[in-house]
């Protein structure tokens, strides 16, 4: 499968800091739904910034190695030009909304890149429709709820038709229902348009039904970068990383270890129950 993002022996340190990323060597496959997990301070956000050209070219710092996005090195590229192909949503969604109305917010990037007004209007309409905010072009931002603003931010990224969307803990300030609904929407976009998705998330339970690949970071280095079902055991083997696995997979890998059985690729409770039943595990009343 074609790689859309490639990091080759990438090292990075911010100005006046120690190494944040060490010898990162990984590939993100086209059309994948990749989850980046790891403890706080592992370098997840910096890795996202490296994928979008912000690190090191916007923020500065020391680096070695190379980052290739869609076959081209990010070296010497303008952040906004990379953003036309790789959408990036940071953690604090509130501070990323720069306009006063929903329509202006979505149109902002398009106008800056010189799209014709008719196309801007059409793309804005379509992007708002895609995120479940149809006809809200004239809404003031304070007329939208937190969840709707998060969706609006996603619409502003979608409007430029990026091939990759990188999301850095997009639901950290949301309630569980809002988080589930946003990830469902992201997955829907991934399926409908074939967009490659890269998500940094602490609460990996939300992403279990959708994740195809997983990158695990610890202290700035890659612990595992593979298909989800292959990376999860590496995470389980490390006691620090184990709690970051989806709860169902902690149970699954625990059972496999304890009873020496091979269980299936659980993506939800229904899969788990069916598999356990098939393996002869029985429900006990006590």
């Amino acid at each position: 499968m074609e790689n859309v993002i490639q990091l080759e022996n990438f090292y990075f340190a911010y100005k006046r800091s120690d190494l944040v990323l060490r010898d990162i060597d990984l590939n993100i496959k086209k059309g994948s739904f990749t989850v980046i997990a790891g403890p706080s301070g592992a370098g997840k956000t910096t890795l996202c910034k490296a994928m979008t050209g912000i690190v090191p070219y916007y923020m500065g710092g020391r680096y070695s190695g190379d980052v290739k996005v869609l076959g081209e090195s990010t070296k010497g590229k303008k952040v906004s030009d990379i953003a036309m192909r790789v959408g990036f949503i940071m953690e604090d969604y509130e501070s990323q909304l720069v306009s006063l109305t929903a329509g202006e917010e979505v149109a902002f990037s398009l106008l800056n890149h010189g799209f014709a007004p008719a196309e801007v209007a059409e793309r804005t309409r379509k992007a708002l429709e895609d995120v479940g905010l149809p006809g809200r072009e004239s809404y003031q931002l304070d007329e939208l709820s937190g969840g709707q603003r998060q969706r609006l931010l996603l619409a502003s990224v979608l409007a430029v038709h990026p091939e990759i969307i990188v999301l850095d803990e997009p639901v950290s300030a949301m309630d569980p229902d809002g988080a589930i609904s946003l990830y469902k929407l992201v997955y829907d976009i991934h399926r409908r348009y074939g967009t490659t998705i890269v998500v940094v998330e602490h609460r990996t339970d939300y992403l279990l039904p959708y994740a195809t690949d997983m990158i695990v970071l610890k202290e700035g280095a890659v612990v595992a970068a593979d298909k989800f079902e292959l990376a999860a055991p590496a995470m389980y083997a490390d006691e620090v990383l184990r709690p970051l696995l989806p709860s169902l997979w902690q149970v699954k890998l625990g059972l496999e270890e304890r009873f020496g059985v091979k269980l299936g690729d659980w993506r939800n409770e229904k899969d788990a129950l069916a598999d356990l039943k098939a393996q002869g595990f029985e429900r006990r009343a006590d």
């Binding site: 979008t52 912000i54 916007y58 952040v79 906004s80 030009d81 953003a83 036309m84 990036f88 940071m90 604090d92 509130e94 501070s95 990323q96 909304l97 720069v98 306009s99 006063l100 202006e104 902002f108 990037s109 106008l111 800056n112 890149h113 010189g114 799209f115 007004p117 931002l141 304070d142 502003s156």
Partner: protein, 225 residues
């Protein structure tokens, strides 16, 4: 009749000049017209509060002038002038979207886009800043912050609220800057926005502005005839 943001800015600038060149009676008439216009455009609670606040501020200014020995008539004229000038800005803000004002400032007055964008950004982030200040105040109150004591004590105590608030604002501004960079903010931002062409109403109002602004010249010419 809808005036473009450009015309409204010109009228506002002109009004601030007129208060110095037109007779007091004419300035007072402008004030009445401004009040009527403002209440016609918007008559919500916020507008009333703004008018009330301006009136109180004008009263304080008049009092201050009287305290420094200015005659009553001069103090009143000074207050009237200030009131008319600020009311003109209030009318402009009530009648025009801030985005249109920013665009007109960039397109027609060659204001750098960064400064124009500050106008909209300031308006966009005021509610966020107020929410943040409430959150910080509550958090620090839980940690023992109290606003009791004399004014100096209260000011010093308030520093524990100001410090984290400023840090939050700086962090947010960094995210905003990065977000603008990602979205390609720059010279094209205003250039590519749909522009407002001047209409008949704009030309008529601009003509009136020219006539009233040259009042001292043509009134002298008429008197000399």
């Amino acid at each position: 009749m809808k005036l473009t943001a450009f015309t409204q800015i010109i009228v506002t600038i002109a009004v601030t000049a007129w208060v110095f060149i037109l007779p007091v009676e004419a300035v007072a008439t402008i004030l009445v017209l401004e009040l009527a216009l403002l209440l016609y455009i918007k008559h919500d609670k916020m507008t009333m509060a703004a008018i009330g606040g301006l009136a109180v501020f004008t009263g304080m200014m008049v009092l201050l002038q009287l305290l420094f020995g200015t005659s009553l008539s001069l103090a009143l004229i000074g207050g009237l002038r200030m009131l008319v000038m600020t009311m003109a800005f209030l009318c402009m803000l009530a009648a025009t979207r801030i985005q249109d004002i920013a665009k007109a400032l960039v397109d027609r007055f060659c204001l750098p886009c960064e400064y124009a964008f500050m106008l909209t950004t300031a308006l966009r982030f005021v509610p966020n800043f107020l929410t943040d200040s409430e959150i910080t105040l509550d958090a620090q109150s839980c940690r023992g912050y109290s606003n009791r004591g004399n004014i100096i004590k209260r000011f010093l105590a308030y520093l524990v609220v100001i410090r984290p608030l400023v840090m939050r604002a700086v962090a947010k501004s960094e995210t905003l800057a990065l977000s603008m960079e990602l979205k390609g903010f720059g010279g094209n931002t205003y250039k590519n926005m749909p522009s407002e062409p001047l209409g008949l109403a704009d030309y008529l109002v601009l003509l009136l502005v020219v006539v009233l602004s040259t009042y001292p010249f043509w009134i002298n010419s008429i008197q000399n005839l």
